[in-house]
Symmetry: C2
Subunit: 144 residues, 2 copies
């Protein structure tokens, strides 16, 4: 469904969000340990997310990644997916036809629209705040 880049990105951001909720900054080694991902690769992913203001970073001792309180409310999973995988998953034709649209549909166009829309709504309505609420932290895991 998503690229590895996007999977690591989502897991990393969810983890950072949870730590930020309790006012903790986290370094890349802590993050990659927590989500079970290759450290250098995850660092690249976080670089992109930092550029796009999904997460913030501070260099030097006691530095690390974090997400500002007010951003937890406004950042949804769709924002992360769009940065890392683009909007293909929402908009692209299931059969890979570039010119497929409502006016000129592929045989599966109207069937895929519904599926993709479910995904879109889910990603757009799931915020980092929701994923960092206490009751969710207990039961869920982020690591292989």
């Amino acid at each position: 469904m998503f690229s590895k880049t996007c999977e690591y990105g989502l897991r990393a951001v969810i983890f950072i969000a949870q730590e930020s909720k309790i006012d903790k900054k986290v370094g890349i080694s802590t993050i990659s340990e927590a989500i079970g991902s290759p450290q250098a690769f995850t660092a690249k992913v976080l670089q992109q997310l930092t550029k796009h203001k999904i997460v913030q970073s501070i260099k030097g001792p006691n530095g690390g990644f974090f997400i500002a309180e007010q951003n937890l409310k406004t950042i949804a999973l769709s924002n992360i997916v769009e940065v890392l995988d683009g909007d293909n998953i929402y908009t692209a034709c299931g059969l890979g036809l570039n010119q497929c649209n409502d006016k000129k549909p592929c045989p599966l166009h109207f069937k895929f629209i519904e599926i993709r829309n479910n995904l879109k709504v889910m990603l757009e309505t799931t915020t980092l705040l929701e994923l960092s609420l206490d009751e969710n932290l207990v039961n869920y895991f982020l690591k292989n």
Copy 2:
């Protein structure tokens, strides 16, 4: 969503199904022309589908690919996807966590289950027969 392999495979099979409905066999050059795909690559894809009995093939003059009448009814899109992309798209965790399941879910597990299930049902209930019915042929296209 799907790999190129799977996209070409789906388009090819839909095209073959439509031709088979009117008792025509089609060769690989006709198929790749009709669906706008690289010929040699599409041939490989069809090789896999032939091995798995999704389509049948006959070598030599007047040979080509076709799907037996009775198979149009029973073959669903899910069968093609499973051969070419495996069942990952139905079963794999959205965050890429191997051990994610109902008992030990990732933070998005229950949200993804619904999405994936919609997709699964759609693919399992869409048969080649449906896609080769006359009324559908007029409006739909398969080529970029």
